[in-house]
């Protein structure tokens, strides 16, 4: 079981949704840390723990973009099976993500509405027809 604590492994002051509007954005966190970490968890059939505690807090757009991209690339079912989110300080984030982000981004995935990328990223993993493929999508 691998744990990522955003305040320790990424930033104590996470920014907003996209790299174009703030440093340390949800987009950056996803592409620098979360995509690879989730790929490793999925391929080794282990749970990835995402710990939201610590740090100065989050804008909803940061979490929506990071977790939303994860759902878009790996499907909601895989995220539900292999991701556990811990948020003891602000437990309402769990409710927000499960009620809003999960469903909206799964719908986007089914409708093939590509997430916006505001900078060029290194190739990243995506689950396509049962295979995990790494490229710049």
């Amino acid at each position: 079981m691998v744990q990522i604590k955003i305040s320790e492994d990424f930033s104590e002051d996470p920014g907003l949704r996209h790299c174009s509007i703030s440093d340390e954005s949800g987009e950056e966190f996803y592409h620098k840390i979360l995509n690879d970490a989730f790929y490793n968890a999925l391929t080794s059939s282990e749970k990835l723990i995402l710990n939201l505690d610590g740090g100065s807090g989050y804008a909803p757009s940061f979490l929506d973009e990071a977790i939303g991209n994860l759902i878009y690339d790996f499907t909601l079912q895989n995220v539900k099976n292999y991701l556990t989110i811990i948020s003891l300080e602000e437990p309402e984030w769990i409710e927000y993500l499960e009620k809003e982000t999960y469903l909206q981004w799964e719908n986007r995935r089914l409708k093939n509405e590509q997430p916006k990328k505001t900078i060029t990223h290194q190739p990243w993993y995506r689950f396509v027809d049962g295979d995990l493929i790494k490229k710049s999508w």
Partner: protein
Amino acid sequence: MSIWITNENSGVISAWTGIIGTVVSLFFGLWIAISLQIKLTSKRVIKDHLINEVRTLNDFYFHFLNDLVEDKRNVKGLISLFKTMSIKISKLMDIIHRHYEIDQSFLSTYQIGLRNIILGCPEYESGYETGGVLILTQDTINELMAFRQRNEHLFNDLILKINSSVVDKKIEI
């Protein structure tokens, strides 16, 4: 020394026994009444304290929203302010839940909704990197006012629920 019960002193003994019995009964009666009163008073004090905390929260949000509308809040610090409020509400709701079994997520709609409007509005995003005063557009102000009208009852509903609650579990704080 031995004590003999005779016809003369048996009356005195039974009188004393009666008196002692009455005193003991009176003492226990008083003890029960006082303990019950203390217990009821302490339960009421806890209720009043928690109700007061909910009122304070409501007042905070009332002034906070007014400040936002009147351009008195800086962009910087809003995320951490929401986090501080969130932790405060979470701890308060935990105590309320343990005392009165009221749903811990009673105010979640308010917290999530308000945070989404303010931290998700274009004015906040455009001012995020530079900082400074958050100046809301009329559209966002209208959205905030509508949100307030739709959700402000939650605080009063919570106060009514606490006040009318009969459940008060003995808990360790």
